[in-house]
């Protein structure tokens, strides 16, 4: 089922100062389509968990509406909502066996014991848990607990699955494995899902769309590609991956919406932009380090910048450079073919250039 958040805000009383208020979420609007998996990505404290808990019903929004399908569910208590949460701590009942944990939701609904058993066994088989039916939770590994928690949520066939940093307690290797596992299961059951994380690689791999949040506000909603290559603002550009912001001045806007801008010693025609600019506006050209080309040479007039290598880190497949331009600005660049292009040393004079197709314009 589709999920819609309309003007959601949440204000908490500060637990330490009765008169102070904490704005955890403000004016959040979002539509998630049926079967879609959306990630909430943002720094700690930006309101991801709060938004998730508003969807699941554990927090009431101070203002705004939560819609599930064509029903407004604000007044539905969490136990009546058709949402299922996978908790960061997994929240597996310690006094019940694995099988009993997974059966919990069906038993509450009063499903007959033999049907419960069948369904539990079926879901345990799809999740590679069959052997663990009678285990007690304290005998499970982290990855197994994770899967038990997921199975326990999915068996109820919820309309919406909510994950709150489900992998943060696992080690790096298992994390990589589990995110594909979660994605596989989500897709095979076709359940609308929200996935909270502050790991951008995780968000990129599991989601159809990413919601970037900061200080309670949505900064951008888009596919991983859009978020990375057309960031809507400085925060998003900076938060996802490494980035250079190049001071630029608009020369003109042509008929098909492209901008001709002065960058460094050069002029470029840039296609992608957020915002509307006119001649003379100061703007920022957003360019990723891997989109820059670096070549050795004395003051090549065709390139954007001439600079001096400050620092070079050779990583085998790539080389990472910090390049000083005009004696002050540092630009980061990554080259991918050290064998062919050569490796420059610090102190080398270099020229920097890029293909305007990789650049994106933002207001200052």
């Amino acid at each position: 089922m589709s999920l819609k958040l309309v003007n959601i805000s949440k204000i908490f009383k500060d637990p330490d100062h009765a008169n102070k208020e904490v704005v955890a979420v403000e004016d959040v609007n979002l539509e998630i389509n049926e079967g879609e998996m959306v990630s909430f990505l943002g720094p700690s404290g930006c309101g991801k968990t709060t938004t998730l808990r508003i969807v699941s019903g554990f927090e009431n929004p101070t203002t705004g509406e939560v819609w599930l399908g064509d029903k407004m569910i604000n007044d539905l208590p969490p136990n009546k909502r058709d949402t299922a949460m996978v908790f960061q701590s997994y929240a597996i009942f310690p006094h019940l066996s694995v099988g009993q944990n997974i059966a919990f939701g069906l038993e509450l609904k009063g499903v007959k014991a033999d049907i419960v058993k069948k369904e539990v066994e079926a879901i345990m088989a799809t999740m590679n848990l069959t052997e663990l039916y009678n285990r007690s939770p304290d005998q499970l590994s982290g990855g197994q607990q994770q899967r038990v928690a997921l199975a326990r949520s999915i068996i109820n066939k919820p309309s919406v699955l909510l994950f709150d940093e489900p992998l943060s307690n696992l080690d790096a290797k298992l994390r990589d494995l589990m995110r594909f596992e979660i994605r596989r299961i989500q897709q095979s059951f076709g359940i609308t899902s929200i996935y909270v994380t502050h790991d951008q690689a995780e968000a990129m791999t599991v989601s159809d769309r990413i919601v970037v949040m900061n200080e309670g506000h949505i900064m951008q909603v888009g596919t991983p590609f859009e978020i990375y290559s057309h960031p809507a603002n400085k925060f998003v550009a900076d938060f996802i991956g490494r980035v250079n912001f190049l001071d630029s001045i608009v020369e003109e806007k042509n008929k098909d919406g492209k901008y001709l801008v002065h960058i460094g010693k050069n002029v470029k025609l840039i296609n992608s932009s957020t915002g509307n600019f006119t001649k003379g506006d100061k703007v920022l050209t957003v360019i990723r380090p891997e989109s820059l080309t670096v070549s050795i040479g004395e003051k090549d007039s065709g390139s954007v910048y001439n600079g001096v290598v400050e620092k070079a880190v050779y990583l085998g497949a790539t080389v990472e450079y910090d390049i000083m331009v005009d004696g002050r600005e540092i630009i980061s660049a990554v080259t991918h073919n050290p064998v062919i292009e050569g490796v420059f040393k610090s102190g080398d004079r270099v020229n920097i250039d890029f293909d305007p197709a990789a650049a994106h314009l933002l207001g200052e």
Binding site: K13, S56, F58, P77, P78, N79, K80, T83, A84, M85, F87, Q88, S89, A91, I92, F93, P94, H95, F104, G105, L108, K109, A149, R152, S153, N156
Partner: protein, 563 residues
């Protein structure tokens, strides 16, 4: 401010109203706390300030103009202070020796220090009379002393220290165990002498615990009734006994209430001082991996001195219990030492009713108190509702209120229609339930704070309403705490006297009250036999509850008492 409070309450109310059962439970609990804790206490206040329906200080003027009652106040306070100091001293020696040295027979010393907790609090007094009284074993037989002054100050202080030092021991043992001995090792390593390390590291770290133990002992001694009733005598009046005598001897309810109130004020103030100030100031010593210390912080000489001191106290306690045991099996204590079972026969013929009544009352009231305690703990930790703070404080209040005060309050509150309860089983049950509910609350709160709230949220998320969440998830997780709380409150219920002595009747009597009246009429043998049976019942109950726990859970989830 009040506006936002009002609005918040309203919002909370609206949420609770979604869940009628929760609302009903909260209302019933609040109503019963008011009726069975607040109302009796306010009766004490009203009766002492409004002796003839009009507000006046006349009763208090009368009390303080009496030299004798003034003396009772001084004596009680002084006895409280001295017991606190001496009891914590002995308790600390025990705790330090057992926590920080490798003397032999540690387990034995631990058990000895625990025993007084599971026996009636006046056993010390009873035994002292048997040993040092007019026909006492030691005074008369061994030393041929006449008229050694055991009644009054000295005897009472001795009995109180013996009775209450175990409380200090348990508190301080917990404190010392939580201070990593590696800290002391580190200080030694930095070149401190052992004594300096003790003075500059161990003692300061234990200081909040010591202060806390002293305050607890002060309150308990102040409230104690059994030992003073037996030992204080008329030369050395004690408040709790005087309040009792005013009510049962002279039927002077206003004066009795006034004395109770005078007893209540220092108890409550010190209790809250302990709870909200001292107990907050505890140090947490941060340690990495637990390392076993080599216990080098005590020099060999000091170790054996401590061992000798502990042995001395242990022997004293053994002597006290041996006297009781012996007294229960000889014809006439002090005169005729032939073995007999007469006292037990007497107990089982005359006093069997009291044994039965005690078991019924403790058996019914303590599980109810335990469950109520778990429910209140759950509400207080996990739910938001108006008057939550009131529920928390008023339900913990009976920890602070001396039994004498509660007893008088119940007499005053429930002696007329529509709440005519005096003489019934119900009044005893209610008294016990609301007196021991804090035990359950404490252990319930402790365990709930360890349970991740998302475990309960997971159940709700899967479709459980608040009732099935509590029944299927929260309650099973609280069961070990319930049972360990049960042991503690059962012991307290079996050994209680100060409140119930006002509430017993010919229909419903209690063993402790029986023991008292045997002592008063000079039948020490019967009193001793009663005491032996009482302690045996308690031990049996503890063993049964522990067996249930071990069978079901494979471990003892104790939070209050470790045996």
């Amino acid at each position: 401010m009040s506006d936002t409070w009002g609005r918040r309450s309203l919002r909370q109310l609206r949420q609770i109203a979604n869940d009628p059962l929760l609302l009903i439970v909260i209302l019933v609990i609040l109503a019963s706390l008011v009726l069975f804790i607040i109302y009796p206490l306010s009766k004490v206040i009203i009766t002492s300030f409004l002796p003839d329906g009009k507000f006046s200080f006349s009763v208090f003027k009368e009390v303080f103009s009496s030299w004798y009652l003034r003396q009772a106040f001084y004596n009680s306070i002084m006895m409280g202070i001295l017991t606190a100091v001496a009891g914590v001293g002995v308790g600390f020696v025990f705790a330090f020796t057992l926590a920080r040295t490798d003397i032999p027979f540690k387990k034995f010393f631990h058990l000895i220090a625990i025993i007084p907790i599971i026996s009636p609090p006046f056993i010390g007094a009873l035994s002292i009379i048997m040993l040092f009284g007019n026909n006492g074993f030691i005074s008369d037989h061994l030393l041929h002393l006449q008229n050694i002054k055991i009644y009054g100050f000295r005897g009472l202080l001795f009995a109180q220290v013996v009775t209450f030092f175990p409380v200090a021991y348990i508190t301080l043992r917990g404190v010392l165990d939580s201070i990593s001995p590696t800290l002391e090792d580190a200080a030694l390593d930095l070149g401190g002498t052992r004594f300096k390390v003790f003075r500059r590291v161990t003692l300061p770290l234990a200081l909040p615990g010591i202060a806390s133990a002293m305050l607890i002992l002060f309150v308990e001694t102040l409230a104690d009734f059994g030992n003073p009733l037996i030992l204080a005598g008329s030369q050395f009046p004690i408040l709790s006994v005087q309040a009792y005598l005013q009510i049962t001897g002279m039927y002077d309810l206003p004066k009795g209430s006034a004395l109770a109130l005078i007893l209540l004020v220092p108890s409550i103030s010190v209790f809250f001082l302990q709870k909200y100030w001292v107990s907050r100031k505890k140090y947490v010593t941060i340690t990495g991996k637990p390392t076993s210390s080599t216990l080098k912080s005590v020099s060999p000489i000091a170790k054996w001195i401590l061992f000798a001191v502990c042995t001395f106290f242990a022997l004293t306690i053994i002597l006290i219990y041996a006297a009781i045991l012996w007294g229960a099996f000889v014809k006439v204590w002090g005169f005729n030492n032939t073995f007999t079972l007469d006292h037990f026969k007497y107990v089982f013929s005359v006093g069997f009713g009291a044994v039965k009544d005690t078991l019924i009352i403790a058996g019914i009231s303590t599980p109810i108190a335990g469950i109520l305690g778990m429910v209140i703990a759950f509400l207080v930790v996990r739910k938001e509702f108006p008057l939550k703070h009131f529920m928390e404080v008023s339900s913990m209040l009976s920890f602070a209120v001396p039994g004498t005060v509660i007893g008088i309050g119940y007499v005053l509150a429930f002696n007329s229609h529509p709440l005519l309860l005096t003489g019934t089983l119900l009044i005893l049950l209610l008294n016990f339930i609301f007196r021991y509910v804090p035990v359950g609350i404490q252990s319930g709160v402790a365990i709930l704070r360890q349970v991740d709230p998302s475990i309960e949220e997971a159940a709700i998320d899967l479709g459980a309403d608040s009732r099935s969440t509590f029944r299927r998830v929260t309650l099973p997780l609280m069961v070990p705490a319930f049972f360990s709380g049960l042991i503690f409150s059962f012991v307290r219920a079996m050994t209680a006297i100060s409140a119930v002595i006002f509430l017993v009747s010919s229909n419903w009597n209690l063993m402790t009250v029986q023991i008292m009246s045997q002592v008063e009429s000079g039948r020490l043998g019967a009193a001793a036999a009663f005491s032996v049976i009482l302690v045996l019942i308690i031990l049996a109950a503890i063993l049964i509850i522990r067996a249930i726990l071990t069978l079901k859970y494979g471990r003892f989830g104790g939070t209050t008492l470790k045996f």
